[in-house]
Symmetry: none
DNA sequence: TATGAATGAGATTTCATTCAT
DNA sequence: AATGAATGAAATCTCATTCAT
């Protein structure tokens, strides 16, 4: 679905950025030295492929989100319904904040005013469908749930997607809190969220179809 | 409700940070010089009050969020019901992404891995109620709507707060899009969100009342 | 004759540049570290006073040429006539390629395409009389020799100045050769040049006076 | 008169350097990439023929000066006397600062302290006659003017050559000024210079021969 | 022989922080 | 208490040079 011909050096850099990012590094204090050391490539090599550090970071995160979402989508196909798929996403977010969490961190980053954020938005803007992979993924899941024959308008589906994304973000915020101060145990929280997401989707099912 | 005895120099610094932040400055590339120049104070003065730059930034944003939320709360008292209050918040977010938007930016910042974010989380952790003002504000609004005599559990209210936050985040995401690609016009979006927030709250009203 | 209020840090930097330059350093491979180490100031200090390295170098050389020419002019007043003054200049050029030589190196630099050269030309362009100090010095010497009452046109004097400069360049070229291959001994060379310079000046004395 | 067996790759590099140099590039900020890109050869190829960048630059300029002077000499043979030849040189310097100008730029470079200058001086030192082509050219012109049977000493001719070179350098300096501040129109300047150069040569003609 | 991807030393420049005033 | 000149650590980025192909 994407350009396949990424040089091994670029891939090494991307991998290093993704790793560091998932390990909790702060993007704005990540240095080129750190990244290239981790990637096992020369410091100057980065500048053979990118105009500057920010371009590399944006490229890495763009690529990472694509990869993570594609992988996630594949795994979610094993689940039977939206509830289970959402549950899986939430469990993933909790267990390995790494993989799925990374997609959310990138989503978060997109609302920054940092230089990396600007470059990243530019990358997404250039896509044919102009849609962030995470959004595209959720759109897909919702459509699958409603069935191909739904007559729901594009606007309504977009609203459902945004609604779902924002609930997931909320869950990320919840996970981000100290465990000590959480009012809910995580399982309860997950159940309520999945229930509400599914309810919102069901409500939008064509009334006449029922 | 807060320490009142803030030195005028500190207040000047806080004000400068808040202004720059609201004008869209990227926190991680904000310099002490920029801030003190804007504040009209000496560069060294900052270090008479704060251990380092990050502490100052965190202090400024912490303070700003308090002030903004207190002000917002006061203004919302003029509205008659939750729907109108929420509508007001959403309108504020659009019109002056500045003031209310600032609170969301801080909320956003809280999920970072930056040094400022860590210090800011620490500040909130030290609060007596350990609650972020924006959340406290929404909790207040919901309780007011449901009436004092509700028998809703704390958990339920917390969930309603999160649910509301997620709707607001949804709106922030919507506003963050290029106008060209938005599926809805802003007014429709606002109405849907307010409607859904109120419905979710109403659904949680005393079960026995049903 | 010039701005007197140069900060001691700036003066230290200027002095270091002048020293290194006179010791034969290549301007384009001179580093900020070398300069500030020699000047005994911090590396960053340079950037409190100059926008970049080139601006500092140009400033230093501009200042140095002024100082050297002023000093040279003072010393030449002790000599009785043009011949002796020229001889003194040539001896200076040989003995301390340092002081007078520096002025010639700057003159030379002015014909470069380097960034420093551009900045330096800009500095000279901003002068009120728009004249390079070395040229101004020679003009002065020639006018003194011819007496105040000369009716020589400005163009004629300018041509005499250039003629003199070319003789001095000739000597610089001579000194620049390996001693082994010089056709003349230095003293003979000096005498020829001084003789020719004076002859050219005398020839331009009022024709009617003859 | 020179090594003929220059590899086509080397010639391409030389040509590229000469072009860039004549277009006004600053030697010290010229990169190997720029040169090889212009030459249409691989970056590594340079190091099959030269020990380092400086050696290549020096080689290119050395070669260029030879070529330019040989070409210039050929063209000057069409002129009848020294005055016309000098005039031609001066006109060339003005019109296409490129070709003849290049020889002067190299001459200028020879008085630098840069690495390239050192290597270039070394190259000239290894010549059988140890003479810079431009000097040799002028020596030839002067001897032609004075006639083969002159009994002028080598020293006297060398002095005349240096005198001529320095006048030409002076003209280059004059051309290098902003047109706005030149005291003379170019034609007048040229005439005076040619007149004085010829006069200086004539004066040295054997008096007894007259 | 020729290439150009890769390297990393080293340059410029920024900016948080200190401290004499 | 307040200042801002001075510092130097550390970051980004360049580019001469190497070397596997």
């Amino acid at each position: 679905m994407e350009k396949q011909e990424l040089s091994p050096k670029v891939l090494a850099a991307y991998k290093a950025v993704a790793e560091l990012f998932m390990e909790g590094a702060d993007l704005s204090s990540l240095t080129v030295s750190e990244i290239t050391a981790r990637a096992g490539i020369g410091k100057g090599t980065v500048y053979d492929y990118f105009a500057n550090k920010e371009e590399m970071l944006a490229g890495a995160l763009y690529h990472e989100m694509d990869v993570v979402c594609a992988e996630l989508y594949k795994q979610l196909q094993k689940k039977r319904n939206l509830y289970e798929k959402m549950e899986q996403i939430l469990v993933d977010m909790e267990e390995h904040m790494q993989e799925v969490g990374c997609a959310f961190k990138v989503l978060h980053l997109l609302m920054d005013n940092s230089q990396v954020s600007k470059q990243l938005r530019e990358l997404f803007r250039r896509r044919k469908d102009n849609e962030i992979p995470l959004f595209a993924l959720l759109r897909e899941l919702i459509i699958e749930e409603l069935g191909e024959d739904i007559s729901l308008s594009g606007e309504d589906i977009t609203y459902l997607v945004m609604n779902t994304v924002s609930r997931l973000i909320c869950y990320a915020m919840y996970l981000n809190q100290d465990e000590a101060v959480r009012s809910f145990d995580t399982k309860t929280m997950r159940e309520r969220l999945c229930r509400d997401i599914c309810r919102d989707v069901e409500e939008n099912r064509q009334p006449g179809e029922d």
